[in-house]
C-alpha cells in the first residue's frame, strides 16, 4: 500500500507522494505571487481614508468597497488614460515583433555561420566616428559629418582596412551585442535624447519603437542562440542536400523547431518594452506617453495616490496576462517537438 504512494504510472506522471509535496510547494509560491496582487485589487477598491487608517483585508467584511478610483481613471481621466494605453500597446508590440524578426536571424547567423570581422576595419570605423564627433563639435552640420564619416570609412576600408589580418570571432560579436546593455539607462538617456531631438522625433512613437528595438535586440540574439544550438545540424544538412536554400532552411526547418524559445523570448521582450520607464520618461512628454509614466505620475505633490496607482497597475497587467495564457500552449508544445526530433 505505502509502496504504491511512491510509484508512478509512467515516467512523466509523478507518484502521489511527490504530487502532494509538489502541490504544497507550488501553492506556497502561488500565494507569495498572488498576495501582493490581491492587495493591489483590494487597495483599488478602497477609499483614501480606508487606506490610510490601516490594513483592511476583505471587501464587504472589513470595509465597503467603492469604485471611485476606477471611475476616476476611466471617466474623469478618460482620454489621458486611453492615449498612453494605446501608445504602450503600439510601441511594445511593434518593437518586440521587429526585435524578434531581426534578432532571430542574427542569432541563427551567429550559430551557423562563421563571421570574421577584421580588427583593422573595426578600428577604422571607430576612428571615423571619432572624426565625425570632433567635426560636429567644431560646428559642422551633423548630416554632413555623418555622410563624410561614412565615405571616409568606406574608402579607408578598401585601402588599408584589409591589410590587418587579425579578426574577431562570433563570440566577440555576441559579447559586443550584450555589452551594449551594460551602460545604465541614466547614462544612455541624455545622448539618445539629443539624437532624437536632432532627428525631430522627440515625443513620437517611432523614437520609442526604435529605442526599444535596439535595447531588446541583444536579449533576443542571446536567448535564441541557445535554442538554435540545440537543433541538430543533421536536419539542416539533409535539407541542404535536398536543395533548400539557407533562407528556406531557416524559415521552414529551424524556426518551427524553436517555437518554444521564440514564444518565451517574445513574451520577455514584450514585457520589457511594455514596462520600460526611464527611457520613456525622457523620450516622450504628451503624445507618446506610455503607461509606466502614468503609474509614477500618481506620486504627486499630495503623496502617492495608492488607489489610482493600483488601478493603473492592474489595467496594465491584464492584457499581458491574456497574452501569457494564450502563448503558454506553445511553450508546452516543446516536449512534443522533442519527441519528433528523436
Amino acid at each position: 500500500m505505502i509502496d504504491k504512494l511512491f510509484r508512478s504510472k509512467t515516467p512523466f506522471h509523478p507518484s502521489p507522494a511527490i504530487m502532494a509535496v509538489s502541490y504544497v510547494l507550488l501553492g506556497f509560491w502561488a500565494f507569495v505571487v498572488l498576495f501582493p496582487l490581491y492587495w493591489l485589487v483590494v487597495t483599488s477598491l478602497k477609499l483614501p481614508i480606508q487606506v490610510i487608517q490601516g490594513p483592511y483585508y476583505l471587501p464587504y467584511v472589513d470595509f465597503e468597497p467603492d469604485l471611485h478610483a476606477w471611475r476616476y481613471i476611466f471617466f474623469d481621466l478618460r482620454n489621458d488614460t486611453i492615449r498612453p494605453y494605446i501608445n504602450t500597446v503600439v510601441v511594445s508590440l511593434a518593437s518586440s515583433i521587429l526585435a524578434l524578426l531581426f534578432g532571430m536571424a542574427a542569432s541563427y547567423g551567429l550559430v551557423r555561420f562563421e563571421y570574421r570581422p577584421r580588427l583593422g576595419a573595426i578600428l577604422t570605423g571607430i576612428g571615423c566616428i571619432a572624426l565625425a564627433i570632433v567635426a560636429i563639435n567644431f560646428g559642422a552640420p551633423w548630416q554632413v559629418a555623418v555622410v563624410a564619416a561614412i565615405a571616409v570609412f568606406l574608402i579607408l576600408l578598401q585601402a588599408i582596412g584589409r591589410r590587418f589580418e587579425r579578426a574577431l570571432g562570433n563570440n566577440d560579436i555576441a559579447f559586443w551585442m550584450i555589452s551594449t546593455r551594460m551602460l545604465p539607462p541614466v547614462a544612455v538617456v541624455l545622448p539618445i535624447y539629443i539624437l532624437f531631438q536632432q532627428l525631430g522625433l522627440l515625443d513620437t512613437r517611432t523614437a520609442l519603437i526604435v529605442t526599444y528595438l535596439a535595447v531588446n535586440l541583444p536579449l533576443v540574439v542571446w536567448l535564441m542562440r541557445d535554442y538554435f544550438q540545440t537543433i541538430p545540424v543533421e536536419l539542416e544538412e539533409c535539407a541542404a542536400i535536398d536543395g533548400a536554400s539557407r533562407y528556406r532552411i531557416f524559415w521552414s526547418i529551424v524556426l518551427p523547431l524553436s517555437i518554444p524559445g521564440l514564444v518565451a523570448t517574445f513574451l520577455l521582450v514584450l514585457v520589457f518594452a511594455w514596462n520600460e520607464y526611464l527611457l520613456a520618461l525622457f523620450l516622450s512628454s504628451a503624445n507618446a506617453q506610455t503607461m509606466p509614466l502614468l503609474v509614477a505620475a500618481q506620486n504627486a505633490t499630495r503623496g502617492p495616490q495608492w488607489w489610482y496607482m493600483s488601478v493603473i497597475i492592474l489595467i496594465m497587467i491584464l492584457p499581458v496576462i491574456a497574452m501569457a495564457i494564450l502563448l503558454e500552449r506553445y511553450i508546452a508544445r516543446g516536449l512534443l517537438v522533442g519527441a519528433v526530433k528523436g
Binding site: 512523466f12 545604465p184 547614462a187 544612455v188 545622448p191 535586440l217 544550438q229 535536398d242 518565451a264 503607461m291
Partner: protein
C-alpha cells in the same frame, strides 16, 4: 565582414551541384540564387548589427566625454569644461570615496581568514590551469582577471561589511546582484522542474508564476512600499505580534537592503522560471526515457540528463540577469530612497541622484565605472564559464 562557412556549407554546395546536373536551370537565375546564398550570412546578421551600432555608439562616446568633463549652467545655456579624470578621482580617492567604495575598516580576524582562504583557492585554480593540458594564454589571462576582480571584491566586502565599516554603493550593488541571482535561479529552477511534471493544473501555476515579471518595475516598487509598511500594510498583525509594530524595518540598514532584495527576487524569479521552463520543455525526451528505463532514479536523471541540457541556457540567463541586475534602480529609489543614509543605494541610483543634482559629469563617471566593473565581471564569466558550458559539449 567576410563570411566563412561551416561544414554543412560544403555539403550544400555539393547538393546544388547534383541538382544542376539533374535538371536544366536558367544559368542566370542560378547565379542569382548562389549569390544570395553566399550573402546569406551577412543578410542574417547585418540588420541587427546596424541597429545596435546606430543606437549604442553615440551614447557610449557622449557619456565618455561627459564623464571627463564638468557640466555647468552659465548665462544663456550650459558649458562643458574638460576636466580630465577629476570625476573618477573624486569617486575613488576624493570626497565621494566613502559613498562609492564605502568607509573601510581594518578587517577582523574572520575577515582575514576569509580573505586568505579565497586567495589560496584562486591561486590554486590558476596553478592547476597552468599545469593542466588545457593550458592556453587566453585561459590564463581570463583566470587571472577573474581572480583579481574576485579578490578586490572580497577585500572591499570584508573591510566594509563588518561592524566598523560601511559598504559603499559598489559593494551594495554587488550584493544585490549576486544574492538576488542566487535565489532567483534556485527558486526559478525549482518551480520550472515542478511544473514540467504531469500535474493537473500545472498550466494555471505556470501563468501565475509569470505574473510578477509583467508588472512595471515602478509599480512593483510602490507595491512593495505598501507591503513593507509595518503600520498600514497587510502584515501589520504579524509585526505587532513579534513586537516590531510601528517601527519601520527600512530604517535598519540590513532591513532596507533585505527589503530591496526581496522585491528584486519576487520580480525576477519569473524570468529565470520562463527561460528554464522553455529549456526543460525543449529537451530531447529519448535520453530521459532511456535513463529511466535503465533504472536511474529522479536525482540521477536530473543530474546526468536534465542539468547538462539546460546548462547553456542557464549560463546565458545568469549573464543577462547579471548585466540587468547591476542596473537596479527603481526598487531602492521608491522603496527606501536609498536610505537609511546611503545604506541601500545602488550604483545606478547614485548616478541618478548625481544626475538630478545636475552633476552630469559625476553621473557619467559612475556609469562608466559600472560599465568597467560589469564588463570585467561579464568577460571573465563569459570566457571561463559560459564558453565551457555552451561549447564544452558536456
Amino acid at each position: 565582414m567576410s563570411v566563412g562557412r561551416q561544414p554543412q556549407g560544403s555539403a550544400q554546395s555539393a547538393g546544388s551541384g547534383l541538382e544542376a546536373s539533374a535538371e536544366q536551370v536558367d544559368s542566370r537565375l542560378r547565379g542569382l540564387a548562389t549569390r544570395a546564398e553566399r550573402l546569406a550570412g551577412n543578410v542574417f546578421i547585418l540588420p541587427t548589427v546596424l541597429v545596435i551600432l546606430a543606437l549604442s555608439i553615440f551614447p557610449l562616446i557622449v557619456s565618455l566625454y561627459l564623464s571627463l568633463a564638468r557640466f555647468r549652467f552659465v548665462r544663456g545655456g550650459f558649458e562643458l569644461n574638460f576636466a580630465g579624470l577629476a570625476n573618477y578621482r573624486k569617486l575613488l580617492f576624493g570626497s565621494e570615496r566613502s559613498h562609492f567604495l564605502g568607509s573601510l575598516a581594518e578587517p577582523s580576524l574572520l575577515g582575514w581568514l576569509i580573505f586568505i582562504g579565497v586567495a589560496v583557492l584562486l591561486a590554486y585554480s590558476i596553478i592547476r590551469h597552468v599545469r593542466s593540458e588545457a593550458f592556453s594564454v587566453g585561459g590564463l589571462f581570463w583566470r587571472v582577471l577573474a581572480g583579481i576582480v574576485t579578490i578586490v571584491t572580497v577585500w572591499l566586502l570584508i573591510r566594509s561589511v563588518g561592524t566598523e565599516g560601511r559598504p559603499g554603493t559598489l559593494i551594495i550593488t554587488v550584493i544585490y546582484v549576486f544574492v538576488g541571482i542566487f535565489f532567483q535561479y534556485l527558486i526559478g529552477l525549482g518551480l520550472a522542474l515542478l511544473t514540467t511534471q504531469r500535474l493537473p493544473g500545472r498550466r494555471f501555476f505556470r501563468v501565475v508564476f509569470l505574473l510578477p515579471m509583467m508588472i512595471t518595475p515602478v509599480g512593483i516598487a510602490y507595491m512593495f512600499r505598501m507591503l513593507t509598511d509595518t503600520d498600514k500594510g497587510p502584515f501589520n498583525p504579524i509585526w505587532y505580534a513579534i513586537g516590531l509594530g510601528g517601527t519601520s524595518w527600512v530604517n535598519d540598514p540590513w532591513g532596507a537592503r533585505a527589503a530591496v532584495l526581496i522585491g528584486d527576487i519576487w520580480q525576477w524569479t519569473p524570468l529565470m522560471f520562463i527561460v528554464l521552463l522553455a529549456a526543460l520543455e525543449g529537451q530531447s525526451i529519448d535520453q530521459y526515457e532511456a535513463a529511466l528505463v535503465d533504472g536511474a532514479n529522479r536525482v540521477q536523471v536530473f543530474w546526468y540528463v536534465t542539468l547538462p541540457q539546460i546548462l547553456p541556457v542557464s549560463a546565458t540567463i545568469i549573464l543577462i540577469r547579471m548585466i540587468e541586475g547591476f542596473k537596479i534602480i527603481d526598487l531602492p529609489n521608491v522603496l527606501t530612497n536609498g536610505g537609511p543614509g546611503t545604506a541601500s543605494e545602488s550604483l545606478t541610483l547614485q548616478a541618478f541622484i548625481f544626475w538630478r543634482s545636475l552633476d552630469l559629469g559625476g553621473s557619467a563617471a559612475i556609469a562608466y565605472m559600472l560599465l568597467i566593473v560589469v564588463t570585467l565581471i561579464g568577460l571573465a564569466y563569459f570566457n571561463l564559464i559560459h564558453q565551457s558550458v555552451a561549447e564544452g559539449g558536456i
